[in-house]
Structures are given as structure tokens and as C-alpha cells.
């Protein structure tokens, strides 16, 4: 029983951390219509920045400053925002798929930097003993993990409430207008480039935050934690949950992470060692298939966007 509960806590923590990244994507895609094909890049930037800022010093690494936890989180968000600003500025005036290509490039590049810039990232060895404020705080690991889960829930809730509020604000309405008809929004005097850039940077900041929370929770980062499949997973979470709906984004994160983990657990139990690779391939194919099928058959996802009518229309 205790085993099951600890697994559940572990599962929920990861799912909700991914949920924060999905909320960021929902602001970009669901809210504004920006295609981010490099989610894992921003997530990894957050995770590595957090690790470099907070992990205890090691002689062979130039980073590892052992700064406080909260400084790490803020730094991770700032680094992800900066990366988003650089890619965003290059592409924000162009057709949407250029942003897709450029963000894909960020993800590839970050993976290379993580693997090769050994003095900073520890290379393939990664960075270990990343602090978690709850590690060793209580008597049992379960209590510690519960504490961390509570922190993640609070951060997720804050992000959710903030996003809900800005979606209903004049700012959020401009974003939606851009998504629906950019020319019309521009005709009404809105600087659409600036708004798109803002939405892109805020969304990517949330992805960086999620990466930092993940690094702190697991306590270890290496290039193998940030494979391109993560981008696909988060996209699938948003699309299955319902693009344009923040609750859908969170629901999608839990559902998709649940399915992913279940297939992973099943294949590692049932498949012999030499066939393990097929389990991973099956997971990825199901994610891809889910993406395509939802796009074709149920574009609005599980919950989907709620239609909004003006108060003055009735």
C-alpha cells in the first residue's frame, strides 16, 4: 500500500510538473497560435540553469554556485525567457512555421551544449545532488515527496490562476484576436509582433520553470533526461486535453503521462531484456498516433476551448 501511495505521489509530481510546461504551451499555441517545436530545449535550459545555480560546488565544474533554491528557480525562468527572446525576435515577424523550425533548432543546440560543454554541464555525466528543499526534512521519503508535491501543486495553481486571469484580460483578448485573424488585429492598431513575442516568452518561461522543478525533484540532470520525445509528449498532452483550455492542459498532462507510464511499466515487466527497445518505440508510436488521430477526429480534445461571447452581445 505504502509502495503504491509513494508511486502515486511520484507520478503526480512529474505529471503536474509537465502540466506547468503544458500550460506554457497552451498560452503559446492555444492562446496565440504560436508553434513551439523545441519545448524540451526551454525545459532543459530551466533544468540546467537551476542545477548550475544551486548544486554544491565540484572542482571540475565552473558552475555549481550553491545558491538558494528560490534563486535557482528565478534564474531558470530568466534563462528560458532569454532563449525565447532570442529565437522569438528572429522569427516573430515571419510566417508561423519559421518559429517552429527555429525552436526545433534551440532544442537540438541545447542538447549538444548539455552533452559537450563539460565544464559547465558535466557532459554525459550530468550534474548530481541538486538540492530539493524537502530532502531529509521529514522522517520518511514519502513525507518529503508529499511536501514537494504540495509545492508543485501550489506553483501550478498560481500559474493556472494567473493564466486564466490574463486570458480574460484585454491583453489575453488581443492574443486571441491575433490567433483568429492577425490582419484584423493589426488593423485595430495592435502591435501584433510585440504581443506574439510576449506570449512566446512567457510560455517558454513556464517551460523553464517546469524544467527547474523537475531537476530539483529528481536531484540529477543529464542530457538523457531531455530527449526530443518530451516535446512530443507535451504537445500530445495539450492536444488531448484540449488546446485553448487551461484545465484541459492539466488534465491532458495527467492522462497522457498516465498512459505513457502504464505502457512503460507494462513493457518493462512483460518484455524480456533484449526487446525493451520495442517498448520505448511503442510508447513513442502511440504518442504520434494519438497526435494525428486527435487532430483528424477530435481537434478540440477532451475538454476543448469554451466559446466566449461578449457580455454586450446578448
Amino acid at each position: 500500500m505504502i509502495g503504491f501511495v509513494s508511486y502515486l505521489v511520484f507520478f503526480l509530481t512529474v505529471a503536474l510538473i509537465l502540466g506547468i510546461a503544458t500550460l506554457g504551451l497552451n498560452l503559446q499555441w492555444g492562446g496565440t497560435g504560436l508553434f513551439n517545436a523545441g519545448i524540451v530545449g526551454f525545459y532543459a535550459i530551466g533544468a540546467y540553469t537551476f542545477a548550475i545555480l544551486t548544486a554544491p560546488p565540484r572542482p571540475e565544474l565552473v558552475g555549481n554556485f550553491e545558491l538558494p533554491w528560490i534563486v535557482g528557480l528565478v534564474g531558470a525562468m530568466a534563462a528560458a525567457a532569454l532563449a525565447a527572446l532570442i529565437t522569438g525576435m528572429a522569427t516573430v515577424r515571419l510566417r508561423g512555421d519559421y518559429l517552429a523550425v527555429a525552436t526545433f533548432g534551440i532544442a537540438v543546440t541545447i542538447q549538444l551544449v548539455a552533452t559537450n560543454f563539460e565544464a559547465l554541464t558535466g557532459g554525459t555525466m550530468g550534474i548530481a545532488s541538486i538540492p530539493n528543499p524537502f530532502r531529509g526534512l521529514f522522517a520518511t521519503p514519502l513525507a518529503n515527496n508529499l511536501g514537494y508535491l504540495a509545492v508543485v501543486v501550489v506553483i501550478l495553481a498560481v500559474a493556472y490562476v494567473a493564466l486564466e486571469r490574463i486570458a480574460r484580460s484585454p491583453w489575453g483578448r488581443v492574443l486571441k484576436a491575433i490567433r483568429e485573424d492577425e490582419v484584423a488585429a493589426e488593423t485595430l492598431g495592435k502591435n501584433t509582433r510585440s504581443f506574439r513575442l510576449q506570449a512566446f516568452v512567457i510560455g517558454s518561461t513556464l517551460m523553464g520553470l517546469a524544467g527547474a522543478l523537475y531537476a530539483s525533484f529528481i536531484g540529477f540532470v543529464s542530457p538523457f533526461d531531455f530527449l526530443p520525445i518530451l516535446t512530443f509528449q507535451i504537445w500530445t498532452m495539450l492536444i488531448i486535453g484540449g488546446s485553448g483550455n487551461n484545465r484541459g492542459a492539466i488534465l491532458g498532462a495527467i492522462v497522457v503521462w498516465g498512459i505513457w507510464s502504464a505502457i512503460g511499466a507494462a513493457s518493462s515487466k512483460m518484455l524480456p531484456e533484449q526487446f525493451q527497445i520495442y517498448g520505448g518505440a511503442a510508447q513513442a508510436m502511440i504518442i504520434g498516433l494519438a497526435l494525428v488521430l486527435v487532430l483528424l477526429l477530435r481537434p478540440r480534445g477532451l475538454i476543448g476551448e469554451q466559446p466566449v461571447t461578449s457580455r454586450h452581445a446578448a
Binding site: G33, V101, A102, F104, W235
Partner: protein, 300 residues
């Protein structure tokens, strides 16, 4: 040292050019970035591998590492890969187009298709590297201090020949003219009696076939791996954008520039960062000249 880097860069560049032409043709006509294009390279290489395994081993031709079976395999793989591209369009992209979905929805669907295709390769052929043959080759010193394998020389020559043939095809054949007119103005082409669905099918077929050839060449000169296409995706995008989407010689020039930049970069930065070079080029081109170096249109 520089001479060798240039020769290697031209070789990679030629392979990238073939991939980028196919991508560019489709992207120009259907107006979306197809993330699944790189998987066509992978599938092209693996389909050829399957055919080679099925045929009896032939004698190597001249100084090359392969015999006639590989030539048959390339032909089969071109058709097979083209059909995969056509099938992806028929099953997914055309349905989304019919629903008048946003072009980014198509980008998205291509994302999912890429994932399926890549992992299908893993399922069928496993994760290990494969080769078309075990023949060892003696490298030729074509210029002082510049060595290439006979296979690599052949790949370069064939790439040039293919580009010339493709140029003539697009310029003079009926279907080539129809393809160019479709890309310029679909509505007007339809009014002129061009069968749009047929032209789109041909474009996918051609793009898939070119990708297959690029994949086989990459497999021949490096090795065949499930992630070979995916690893080239960024370079392909960069080559196509650099050249200006829709421009044949632009895509060739883009491919060569990316290939040369990658291999020359190894002289100044650690080789581990080679794959990030296209991204640097991409950012520069997007900041300075997003319509590409060789595109006539000023808008993107």
C-alpha cells in the same frame, strides 16, 4: 587540412541538397514545414537495405563498394519512399487541407507522422547501425592531401547529374510546369485545367524519391541508423530556408553552404558542436534575409 574539410563538406552538402530540394518543393507548394521529411531519408535508406538483403550479393562494380543490387534497391526505394509520402498526404495532410485547417495544424500533424515513422523503423530494423556491404575501399588522393572514397566521388557526381535532370524536368516537362504553376498560384492553375490532386501527388512522389536517394547516399557514405534522418532535419530546414523555399538551385546552394559550414567549423570549434552550426546559420539568415539568399520574392 582545409582541402579535406572542403571535400567532406561538399559531400555532406550534396546529400543535404537532395534532401532540401525535396523538402523545398513540397513546402513551396503546400506552404507548411514538413517535419516528417527527414524520416523519408531514413525510410529511403532502410527500404534500399531491405532490397539489398533480399537480392543475391553481386560483384562490386569497379572501385565501388557495391554491386548492381544496390542500384536496383535505389530504384525500388525511390518508388517506395515516394509512396509513403503520398500515403501520408492522402491519409492525413489532404484531409486537414480539405478542412481548411491552419497551416500550423499541418506542421503539427507532420510532427506526429515523423514520430510514427521513426519508431516504426526502430521496430522493424532495430537500433543498431547497418551497412549496405562489407567491402573495404581504398581511398583515392584526388588532389594533393585530399582523399575521397570512390563511393563518395560517385555520390558527388550523381548529385550533380540529378540536379541538372531535375532542373530540366521542372523547366520543360508538362508535370514540371504544372508543379511550378501550382506553387505560384493554385487557383489560377486550377482554372487553367491543371489537375491539382495529381500535381500534389507527383510533388510528394518526387520529394520522397529525392529523399530516398539522399538517404541511400548518406547510408552509403556514413552508416544506416534509425535516427539518421532526424539528425539531419535541422540542416535540411536550414539549407532550404537559406536557399529560399521553392528555389531548386537555392536549395542546392543552401545544402552546400550548410555542408561546408559544418565541416569547416570543425577546424575552429570542437566537433561536438558541429550539429549546432546549422542553427547558428539559421538564426543569422532569419535575422538578415528571411526570404533566403536566392529568392526573388521579398516577403515571407
Amino acid at each position: 587540412m582545409i582541402g579535406q574539410a572542403i571535400a567532406d563538406g561538399l559531400l555532406t552538402g550534396g546529400i543535404l541538397a537532395l534532401g532540401a530540394i525535396g523538402y523545398s518543393l513540397c513546402a513551396h507548394m503546400l506552404k507548411f514545414a514538413n517535419f516528417a521529411h527527414a524520416e523519408m531519408l531514413t525510410w529511403g535508406a532502410y527500404l534500399a537495405l531491405a532490397v539489398v538483403a533480399f537480392l543475391p550479393a553481386g560483384q562490386p562494380i569497379g572501385p565501388f563498394s557495391f554491386g548492381w543490387p544496390l542500384l536496383v534497391a535505389i530504384a525500388v526505394s525511390c518508388v517506395g519512399t515516394g509512396l509513403i509520402a503520398v500515403a501520408a498526404d492522402a491519409l492525413v495532410f489532404s484531409k486537414l487541407r480539405k478542412r481548411r485547417a491552419n497551416s500550423l495544424t499541418l506542421v503539427f500533424a507532420s510532427f506526429g507522422i515523423a514520430l510514427i515513422l521513426r519508431n516504426l523503423v526502430l521496430f522493424v530494423w532495430g537500433a543498431d547501425a547497418h551497412y549496405y556491404g562489407q567491402e573495404l575501399q581504398i581511398s583515392l588522393e584526388i588532389l594533393p592531401n585530399v582523399r575521397l572514397m570512390p563511393d563518395q566521388v560517385l555520390v558527388l557526381v550523381l548529385t550533380v547529374a540529378l540536379v541538372v535532370a531535375l532542373h530540366l524536368f521542372l523547366k520543360f516537362s508538362r508535370i514540371g510546369v504544372a508543379m511550378r504553376s501550382m506553387a505560384e498560384n493554385p487557383a489560377l492553375s486550377q482554372v487553367c485545367g491543371i489537375d491539382i490532386a495529381k500535381v500534389v501527388r507527383w510533388t510528394w512522389m518526387l520529394s520522397g524519391a529525392l529523399a530516398a536517394i539522399a538517404g541511400v547516399f548518406a547510408g552509403l557514405t556514413v552508416q544506416i541508423r534509425p535516427e539518421m534522418g532526424f539528425n539531419m532535419l535541422l540542416a535540411l530546414f536550414t539549407a532550404a530556408i537559406l536557399g529560399g523555399t521553392g528555389s531548386l538551385f537555392g536549395a542546392v546552394a543552401g545544402g552546400l553552404i550548410v555542408g561546408l559550414a559544418e565541416s569547416l567549423s570543425a577546424l575552429v570549434i570542437p566537433t561536438g558542436y558541429k550539429a549546432a552550426v546549422p542553427f547558428g546559420l539559421l538564426l543569422i539568415i532569419l535575422y538578415l534575409r528571411p526570404q533566403g539568399l536566392f529568392s526573388r520574392s521579398a516577403r515571407v
